[in-house]
Amino acid sequence: MATFLGINFFALFGQLLIGLINGSFYALLSLGLAIIFGLLRIINFAQGAMYMLGAFVALLGFKYMGMNYWVALLVVPIIVGLIGILIQRFLIRPIVNEDHLYSLLLTFGLALMIQGIFTHWFGSSGQSYPVPEALKGGMRLPFMYLPNYRAWIIVVSVLVCFSTWWMIEKTKLGVYLRAGTENPQLLQAFGINVPLIVTLTFGFGVGLAGFAGVMAAPVYSVSPDMGSNILIIVFAIVVIGGMGSIGGAILTGLGMGIVEGLTKYFYPEASATVIFLVMVIVLMIKPSGLFGKNA
C-alpha cells in the first residue's frame, strides 16, 4: 500500500526527508548569516566559503591526521570561527565605517579567493568523507527507510539552531547582542566592549557555517564549489525570513527545505527555482520578509 490517491508515499517521504536535510543546512547557514547581519549590518558573502572550509578541514584532518568525525565536529567549527575572527579583526574592522558595499565586496572577493585556492589545490571534483561508524545503518519506518546519519543531521541541526536562538533570547549575552544590534554606541557608553562582542559574534556566525560543513561532509561530496552553490539559496532564505531575524532564519531554512522537497515530488522541473519564486512573492507582499520588522 505505497500509493494512495495516486501519491507514492515512498517517493514523497523520500523527497521530504531530503528536503528536511537540505533545510537543516539552510537553517544553520542562514542562522549564521542572520546573526552576523543583525549585529554588523554586513552581508557575509564568505559564509559559503566558510562552510566549504569546514568540510575540507574535516576531510583533510581525517586523511592526514586521522581526526575522527566526532573530534572534527568539535574542533573544526572552532578553527573556522578563529579564521572568521581574524577576517573580521584585520580585514572588516578597518572598513567598518565605510559604506556597507565595501564589506560586501570584500567578503565576496574573499569567497572567490578561498574557493580559487581550494580548486587549485584539490581540483573541482568532489571527494567523499566516510559516515562515522556509530551512525551507519538506518531505521525502517512505515513509509520509508531512514538512514541514521540523516536523522542525526536533522536532530543536531534543530538542536544547535534552537540553542542559538535560546542564547540570544534568554541570556545576558543575548541581551548585549540585541542591544548592540539596536544601538551599539549607547551600549558602549554603558561600559560594554562592543568591538569585542562584534568580533566574537562574527566568529560564532562563521563557526556555525564551519559546523554545517562538517555535518555535510558525509552526505554531500566535499568540493570547492559546494559553498557557492548553496549560498545563493541561503541568501534567498534570509530574504524570505527577514534580514537579521534569528527565528525567521531557522524556521524559513527548514520550511524552504520542505517546500523544495515537496516540489521535487509534485513538479520536479520547478524544484531548483521554487525558493526564488517564494522569495519574489514574499518580497511583493511583505518586503521586510516573513519574520522581519517593518523598516
Binding site: 541581551v175 539596536e182 558602549q188 554603558f190 560594554i192 562592543v194
Partner: protein, 237 residues
C-alpha cells in the same frame, strides 16, 4: 597641578568635531562632588555634544577631560562608564528589543554601592508594574524614568543627563525634580543639559551658558535674579 579630590569632572579647552564640522570651541567646565550643574543654551549651542564628548561618542576631540582625577582622553569608549559615569541620552535610548527589566539590568555595575532593584522599584513604582513590557511600549514619562533608573542601577555617581524633561507632562517633570534632589542629597554629581529653565533653576547650584560651542557665562544659583536680564538675552526665555 594637584587634584582636588572633590572635583569629579574637569574639562579643559575641549574641542570636538563631527566629521568636518567643529562643534565645541575650547570649553572649560568643572563640577564638584554633590553639585548639580546645568548647561543652558539654545538648540545647537553644543550642550549635547559636550555630554557625548565626555562619553567619547563624538568623532574627534582635543583638550582634556578629567574624571575623578583620571584623564580619559585616550580611553576607549567602553571604559569611560566604569569610572562611575552614567549617561542618559536625549532620545532616552530605550532598547525596543529588550523588556523593561532587561533595559534596567543592561548596564554593568560600575560601582559597588549601586542602587538595588528593590530601591529602584520603590523610587519608580510604575517600572515595577511594567517590568515585563517591551521597553518602548512605555509612555514617554515612564521611558524617561527607565533611562534614569538604568544608570542609577549601574551605580554611576556622576550623571550626565540630556534634556530629561523634554516633552513630558508637568506632573512627571515635578517627579523628576524630586528624584534629582534626592540623588543630589545622596551626594551624586549631576551635569544636566536643560531647555526647561524653570525646572533647572530651583534645583541647580550653578549654570553654564553655552553659545556656538563656547561657554559664554557661568552663573551661580544666588546670582540668578541679578543676572536674569543677561540670561534672557542668551536663552530668549
Amino acid at each position: 597641578m594637584s587634584h582636588n579630590s572633590r572635583e569629579k569632572l574637569r574639562i579643559t579647552n575641549l574641542h570636538a568635531f563631527y566629521d568636518e564640522s567643529h562643534i565645541l570651541h575650547g570649553i572649560d567646565i568643572s563640577v564638584m562632588q554633590g553639585e548639580l550643574v546645568t548647561l543652558l543654551g539654545r538648540n545647537g549651542s553644543g550642550r549635547s555634544t559636550t555630554l557625548k564628548a565626555i562619553m567619547n561618542m563624538v568623532g574627534k576631540r582635543s583638550g582634556e577631560i578629567v574624571v575623578n582625577g583620571e584623564n580619559t582622553m585616550t580611553m576607549p569608549a567602553h571604559k569611560i562608564a566604569h569610572l562611575g559615569l552614567g549617561f542618559c541620552p536625549e532620545e532616552r535610548g530605550i532598547f525596543a528589543s529588550l523588556s523593561v527589566e532587561e533595559n534596567l539590568l543592561l548596564p554593568p555595575q560600575v560601582r559597588s554601592d549601586a542602587m538595588s532593584l528593590e530601591e529602584i522599584y520603590e523610587l519608580f513604582p510604575n517600572l515595577y508594574e511594567r517590568r515585563t513590557s517591551q521597553g518602548t511600549r512605555l509612555s514617554g514619562g515612564e521611558q524617561q524614568m527607565l533611562a534614569l533608573a538604568r544608570i542609577l542601577r549601574s551605580g554611576a555617581n556622576i550623571l550626565l543627563l540630556d534634556e530629561i524633561t523634554e516633552g513630558l507632562a508637568p506632573v512627571i517633570v515635578q517627579k523628576l525634580a524630586e528624584v534629582l534632589m534626592l540623588l543630589k542629597n545622596r551626594g551624586l554629581t549631576i551635569l544636566l543639559v536643560e531647555q526647561n529653565f524653570r525646572f533647572a533653576a530651583p534645583i541647580a547650584d550653578r549654570h553654564y551658558i553655552m553659545e556656538h560651542g563656547h561657554i559664554v557665562e557661568e552663573i551661580l544659583a544666588n546670582e540668578l535674579k541679578a543676572k536674569s536680564e543677561l540670561l534672557n538675552t542668551y536663552l530668549g526665555v
